[in-house]
């Protein structure tokens, strides 16, 4: 895959390398590439390799046993459940927010865009803390919740809320610059020609933003399944009940069951790699679409 991107990259780099005015001496180029490769190996490749090597240190049977064990299985199901609720919520929000921000002009738009990014700059620990302050036993709604026997903190709803918070901006953030760049003319033409708003979105906007949307959802999902700090605060760490995969990794690790901890971690690492593959693919498609647009 990636003929479009590869050629684009190669051409760009080769142009600069071929020009005497814009190239560095060979030794400097060698040093820079070496430094980058060393840094890459040290900070990205080695930690990633460690996960898989440690996971298989005690062989396949221990690896598989760690994954099919009931608590691990419960953690997998819980992680999937939380993501299945949190990601669609933020998907709908992201599309709504991007439509409002990019298709209309109004005062306070810049402030709104900044506020949407807010959860990214809040520590995950604080993302958990806020829901404890609201729904915890001593929180705003604590007494009422206890009286009516509704569990939010140390239960699934708390995990979902904390996850929604930390993954809040992902889809909106991906769509806003994309839809901003695409402008409003196509949608306006559809409306003028008599299409309904919903049809316009479905047949005009959605095909244009498809890849950006997928990318946003994939990133949102990766973070939702991998979130640690925020869910750690609201989970209560009840084994088999409120432990998501990352929290299960922590418990195993703290019990010195390293092979099992890394086995579960390897599942999350695979998810991360899959995310990166989809990301590369989406970028490639995006560039292809852009090139096709330029040729027209």
């Amino acid at each position: 895959m990636g003929a479009g991107v590869a050629s684009h990259w190669t051409v760009h780099a080769r142009r600069f390398e071929a020009n005497a005015a814009t190239r560095e001496p060979a030794w400097l180029k060698g040093v820079l590439i070496t430094v980058a490769l060393l840094f890459f190996g040290l900070f990205l490749l080695l930690p990633l390799a460690t996960v898989f090597v440690e996971a298989f240190r005690k062989g396949w049977t221990v690896y598989l046993a760690a994954l099919v064990e009931p608590d691990a299985w419960a953690a997998i199901v819980l992680t999937l459940t939380v993501a299945a609720i949190a990601v669609p919520l933020n998907l709908v929000f992201g599309v709504m927010a991007a439509w409002a921000i990019t298709k209309f002009d109004f005062r306070g738009k810049q402030l709104l865009t900044t506020l949407i990014d807010l959860p990214f700059s809040v520590s995950p620990v604080i993302a958990g803390l806020i829901y404890v302050l609201i729904f915890g036993a001593q929180g705003w709604f604590g007494p009422w919740l206890i009286e009516n026997d509704v569990k939010i903190i140390f239960a699934v709803p708390g995990l979902v809320l904390a996850t929604v918070f930390v993954t809040f901006p992902f889809v909106a953030r991906e769509l806003i610059p994309l839809m901003e760049a695409q402008g409003r003319e196509e949608e306006e033409a559809a409306i003028v020609l008599g299409a309904s708003g919903w049809k316009t979105f479905w047949y005009v906007t959605l095909p244009n933003i498809k890849w950006g949307l997928i990318y946003g959802v994939v990133l949102c999902n990766a973070r939702a399944m991998g979130e640690f700090g925020a869910v750690s605060v609201v989970s209560g760490h009840i084994r088999g009940r409120t432990n998501t995969l990352p929290l299960h990794v922590e418990i195993l690790y703290n019990e010195y069951q390293f092979a099992a901890a890394f086995a579960v971690a390897s599942l999350l690492a695979l998810l991360a790699l899959l995310t990166l593959v989809i990301k590369s693919f989406v970028e490639w498609r995006g560039r292809q679409a852009m090139n096709a647009g330029q040729e027209l």
Partner: protein
Amino acid sequence: MSAGKTYRVLPGFPLTLGYTLVYLSLMVLIPLSAVFLKSMTLSLEEFWAIISAPRVVASYQISFGISLLAAAINAVFGLIFAWVLVRYHFPGKRLIDALVDLPFALPTAVAGIALTALYAGNGWLGQWLEPLGVKVAFTPLGILVALTFIGLPFVVRTVQPVLEDLDMELEEAAASLGANRGQTFWRVILPVLTPALLTGFALAFARAVGEYGSVIFIAGNVPMVSEITPLLIITKLEQYDYVGATAIAVVMLVFSFILLFLINGLQIWANRSRARN
């Protein structure tokens, strides 16, 4: 802008803006205000006593100091990384480019245990470093390693597109006017990259300050030595000291807000200078 308030062709403005504002308020703004409201149950003296306690101040120094250092390391190596990816052709480049985002995609707990295993006394790197007297795991140096890992993609991904857009003519002009390659870099290229570089630096810094998952495994978590501020909030929570946790959270939130608006300003500056070039 010409459409103005009276004439909108596209439908859905009240619905989408209304939904956005309600969802944003319910999920983000009102929950965050809980922190500030809770901290108001404290008198000013009590609040100050909590946030200026020696152990808390030590945690600020560790969190903010090491985050700053990690962001600086990322600025330098991120720039080299972006440069190499945009300007040179070498085998494996596409794979490296795809994996730069690994710290975004890899759950922090996984990064934490992997880095710890790597740098522990019997780990692949630890076994070589410890005989040299360099202890990384369970020391502040371990925090630096984790925060550098976490912040790596920010600088690369903000600098890379700007570098790709940079016109070759600019550098040719500098060379034809007699500038050597070093002068061209410092006087022509770097000023263009500066807004993006600073944005990436600030983003990496903001992320590092709040980071929890990857740090706690490798830090050792010794109070006054290697205890980060987010961990202190958790510790207070586990002791049911909600007010104490909230007071420290207020300090972190105020800092995050300032940084967020700073980053926003930087991004506007970066976009403008990009449009100009």
